[in-house]
Symmetry: D3
């Protein structure tokens, strides 16, 4: 089975940067797959993507060295299984707030005896190479999201659940849950403390801390210790690129894209 | 019928800048439609777009003030008619090399007695507003491409064909026809002379000179006198945006996007 | 954010009439969006619609003053969140039988602290205008269905659950649950009492009573006090229209469509 | 091979009524296929239909006794062949203005030696039953459109071209070509004379006269002698049905649909 | 309503053989529907099929005498209801491990008072014929899967749950749950005992024993007493057929396909 | 640019075997791409494939060593250009009957000065690797079909047209043109002579003779000297595979597939 280079990177403490696929147009994905991101994540939750659009987007990543992962719409075993069978090598699972929910997330990603995923990797076995059954439990990344105050309360126990590879912070929902508006960052100590809590809980349990970001914040996140940082999305990149191109075309300012991010 | 602001801009000598849609993902188009480009052009020739993907992309432009146009795959009346019926307000027609071909292009875009377009604007009549039949011949833009040495030989006569609103230079094919490799620009005098020829033929006949471009060349093209300049494409913008975001994320250089275009 | 005129109508006791979208062909939706219905509801439960067809149908409603809503396939947070992120302004949630289920329905429709909806209105924020986060909890309509005897038993408590904007009667399932065959109406006192119960529970709690209907019953429903009444569906309208057109064409009877509904 | 009941009806002088499919949603087509129209015509010219949507629409007609036909986007052999291979039993071919164009239309519909259609009825052979090759030339209907003054000038010769089964008047284009605005009918003698010319040319050559219509005109057309009359479209029927349903729901007028057509 | 010949076969102890649809290309399904399989099962769990591809695949089966069924992605009422409304006549429900889960599976497939399926057979009522409501509870097959050791422990009670028509063994998951690798068969006594347990539990309760298989194992399964045996899938058949064709073309061995299965 | 191993094989006289894609389901194509066929040909003429389904099918071939080619629906430059831009490495062009038609076919496949293909390999440049413009004219295969008596009359001159890489016999149309019914082979001397004529004309001009076939005929075709032989199609393979699987399952005969082809 294809090696999950995300997991090997995290195992040795290396940073990984990812691109979000919110629209996942297959030809765009082909092009973006060649840019050198460590992972491409199909956003089946808030993106305009569902199972039917996930499959061609995964086929479009065949030439890419980026690891294909997906965010499930919810902590539901049906769609998690379908995404894995279609060939994703990791699943981000939203709104995991308790140990029970974390265990349910792991169960959906792992074959028995580690979990209760059903066997039938119809596309994955071919797309990811031989010995899929033997290697899937160790190569597939299970990545619960930490994005509520309830999750923070249970964080130390959640991080101990066996079978979790990373915890992924959703800063917008986290900020809302803490009483603020949504955003990629927040100066309030409660928000900053939450990030530190995730970082320390991950370190204590040998799993990777991850977070959703925007380009200008990534260096900060890496300096804080996050090892899985999503940089931008296909949709945001198209908007930013087309906006900057228009500015350049109009001769507004130099061709520097400082305002881009 | 909705006013074709491209044609009114050209009529008063104003510049128009456009965005190419090579993949035309409908939600991406919705976002790009809000950026202020003067036109969005579905590339049904070299883009990954055909009729079935053109319709949702046109529906996605309803909130946009950008004028929806399309490039036909070839000088063929069947597909030109279908694109117009779907609601485009202009058609770029490739490889128009002779007066006869120019007349054929006009005929496909105009109702009798100016042409031979068949009546049935199933979506266009609703999407573009009342009095479609009465206004279509004057509001629809017919835009042949000049991109071969044969076209240059016939250029002065082509530009005189009634019903043409603009001539659009395809620099890559023009360069190839002149014996060079494809590119957005070429220093050779034969290429530069060809551009001047298009500019003067358009001026002599009161039609707009247009050209395909890249962001960094647009100011030059406008200074030369081109009034319809395509800046970049959705696919190129997504690639450029995602590439720059990764550079910013990696802390490589400043957040300036100078290398972006 | 775009004003939800359904909610303002209900707030002042005005009637609202809706059209069901069972097939949701995007161009048909564009046409039907101009007829003056107060809402268009994508039926993701019993209609031939899923998430992948809901998105183009919503894009096709951009020119319409009808409020776009959807019926979820079930009381499941994953798909409810996806429909909201795609731009619907209200969700009808089937088979809400208990207070706990009603609270779950509300939670799926509301951001914290009112609920647990996850933030990421990828299309909705652009399509519905600025300040989405600030206004969504008040502008989005949460509409549980009352359609079983269990729901009737718990009705007075369900109607008190904070965050509900309307209750929507599914007459076919209600009739089945009461021991009859499915239908839009039923003379049995148990069915009529149930309607009165919904009307009074809504009135007592300041929320709008709604019901699925057919054209010929709508005047009765409005007279009874229902304020959200679905008139027919795209599929039924197409069938009725084509049937009547054939009768007119055959010269069978006059051009009156009395048998149409 | 399935019998083309249109051709047998025309052979014995019987009337046939048709429904146009402008959007061709497959489930809507399934429903409309049960109403008793003699033919369902996929409008690949002015409808929102191309080859990719024609195939599922044809599969959706399997239960229907209506004969599946299509209007090609133009007199082009590539798409005519594809539609026939997909299983249509007749092709309406627009803008046939000369004998040469009529012969080209016939050639595209017939195997050698009658024409030059290429063999490969991948779906048609299964969908329409055995002996497809032997029966196709006699069962497939070739139906050129008469819709310009040029066509009228050549009409007597066009009608004599072997292999034509019917001539179909496009009244909107015909009116435009005669110098009027588009419409289903026109009181001007030049228009009425043109209809009579088509009727007499068909009668003289034993082929069926056809015309595009609206419901309220059909009885007139049949009385004039037309034997192939299209009544309305799926899109118009959906609009009319939904409009009338809303009127009934509002209690505006009686439930009579007199204003519907 | 169309008769479910699977259920009548099982009722009289006859064998039924099925074909799995893992990709469900609609034209391929049309062809495969004519081969004489007793059922065609859309695999919405491990297949590359979701609701949006299930509908055209069901439309493509209209000419087939094979009974259309589906495997749901999980024991979730939303998607089970949607598949039934789209016209499947049976649902295989994965990972049913307890009596409560079996009762939930039955509830999703049956109208009240037998279950809690919601009424709205938008396509099914037309596609499967009249009296759908009256006949659905008896004609629809509810088929839980037995594929874990937990299910085996509860098997005798699961088999007694009213409303179940068959139990379907998933040998790959069963083998994994028993501690082996996935496969269609396994010599270990624990696996063989499990099959016997399913057979005896079915016989004791008058329901049909079913199992997923490969061609070479089917005769064995029938001899063991299984009455619902899936032979192969569309994807496996295409691969096997194309592989054997290549071998024949290369003149490798005779034209015998012994190595095919 | 990726090497066209078909052309290098033909250049050294080696045989190549191909698979036809008539439905081109993307996941099926992924599987079939691993079987070792020398080419996979999207049949955009008689297959159920158009441009919109060709693109995902080409993306699905990224892992395959089979060369991706397509058959155009007709000798039309618009669709030929679109298929090339999407990434096919060869085009089979039907119904080439004269030198002029052969020259038109070549022109559509070659950039100036060899032809008049328009530049814009949006997907092809990325999918097939660097230096696309420089290498395309030599790596792309242009393959006219010989399938009528007119083509046979002009065959010696057609074969001399510069830029042709192979001639491909369509035996069904050839047989029809010769006065027989369609078939893969025909004993009549006129048919056999035609094959010999194609073989000798190819040999005389150093181009490859090709023919459409069925598995059982391939060895004969190779012995005759054909170097490009299509073995079967995805649709035929699926049907044959599923038919044989059912026979094996029923215990009818041995597991030998002698009747399969």
């Amino acid at each position: 089975m294809r090696e999950n280079t995300l997991k090997s990177a995290w195992g040795s403490g290396r940073e990984t940067l990812g691109l979000w696929l919110a629209t996942a147009d297959p030809v765009t994905v082909e092009v973006l797959g060649g840019l050198g991101y460590d992972y491409l994540c199909l956003d089946v939750q808030h993106g305009l993507v569902d199972y039917s659009s996930a499959v061609p987007a995964l086929q479009a990543q065949q030439r890419s060295s980026s690891i294909p992962i997906a965010r499930a719409p919810w902590n539901e075993p049906g769609i998690i299984g379908k995404l894995l069978d279609a060939g994703v090598m990791g699943v981000i699972i939203p709104m995991v707030n308790t140990v029970a929910e974390a265990e349910q997330a792991v169960a959906a990603c792992r074959y028995a005896p580690m979990g209760s995923r059903s066997y039938g990797p119809t596309r994955a076995a071919g797309a990811l190479g031989g010995r899929y059954f033997e290697d899937a439990n160790s190569q597939i990344a299970c990545i619960p999201m930490i994005e509520t105050t309830t999750a923070l309360e249970n964080l130390d126990d959640i991080a101990k659940v066996e079978g979790i590879d990373a915890l992924y912070v959703g800063p917008a929902d986290l900020a809302i849950s803490l009483g603020f508006g949504p955003g990629s960052d927040n100066d309030d100590p409660s928000f900053q403390d939450a990030l530190q809590h995730v970082l320390s809980a991950c370190e204590a349990n040998g799993i990777a801390p991850g977070i959703h970001s925007v380009p200008s914040l990534v260096q900060t996140r890496l300096a804080q210790g996050f090892r899985m940082v999503t940089v931008t999305s296909d949709l945001q990149a198209a908007g930013a690129g087309a906006k900057q191109a228009l500015a350049v075309a109009r001769g507004e300012g130099s061709s520097d894209g400082g305002s881009m991010y």
